[in-house]
């Protein structure tokens, strides 16, 4: 017993209605990433130097700390979305793809958590 051709198996089932979701989300985070990365670049240029005290002073300000927290969130998020597409494009074997995506998500959550923890520590003093 065959299962029919590929097209025959899906014909008549309609759209999955979820295909555009990831694509759109990816565009949303790219806008946030663009804005916050411009802020980050300009901020680096406006620092008097990259000494310990100068950078600490910059990140002690609530505005800088908030923007840097958002910068980390949106860029880790956007990187996760982009690397996910790369994995889906090049890793075809289902098991490897599944494992790669899990590893990607673990690294991304860890990166975001560590980055945000650092921002909080820098903003609230300590160390």
């Amino acid at each position: 017993m065959g299962n029919g051709t590929s097209i025959g198996r899906v014909r008549g089932k309609g759209s999955a209605h979820s295909g555009a979701h990831h694509w759109l989300q990816f565009r949303y985070t790219s806008v946030g990433s663009l804005l916050l990365t411009v802020w980050f670049g300009v901020s680096l240029l406006m620092l008097p130097n990259f000494s310990y005290t100068a950078v600490r002073e910059w990140l002690a300000s609530p505005i800088s700390a908030t923007a840097l927290a958002l910068f980390i969130i949106v860029n880790v998020w956007h990187a996760q979305q982009g690397l996910r597409v790369v994995i889906e494009d090049y890793v075809h074997e289902e098991g490897n793809k599944f494992a790669s995506l899990i590893a990607l998500n673990l690294v991304c959550f860890a990166a975001a958590a560590f980055g945000l923890f650092c921002v909080v520590r820098l903003a609230l003093g300590g160390a």
Binding site: T37, G41, A79, V86, G115, R121
Partner: protein, 131 residues
Amino acid sequence: MAQQAGTRNRPLSPHLQIWRWGPGMLSSILHRATGIAASVGILVLLWWLGALVSGPAAYAKFAAVAGHPLGILILVGISYSVIAHGVTGIRHFVLDTGAGYELEQNKLWANVCTAAGFVLTALFWAALLLR
């Protein structure tokens, strides 16, 4: 590679080696490559922040690595990746609206975006070093 029933031995669409290299293809693959490199840049950012949290001694260690010629080369690479990815990303936004596919236009803007990545990176470092 997973092969589904009914897809075996069927002709594949022409792949990379068939097409003549063009500006649009270069811009497109650079967008992907710089995106991957910029993701690695996030890890360097986290190292910088971690060193900052850990205190002046750890920060001095980071500064020594970042200030080494090889470290500077990597930072230039990361900044190029971020800037170039931003520029080609804007190009993809325009293409997403359905505009810019006419051959001449597509070629022109692909070349402009590829060049802009290098030019803006040079300007960024010039501004950084000359401030």
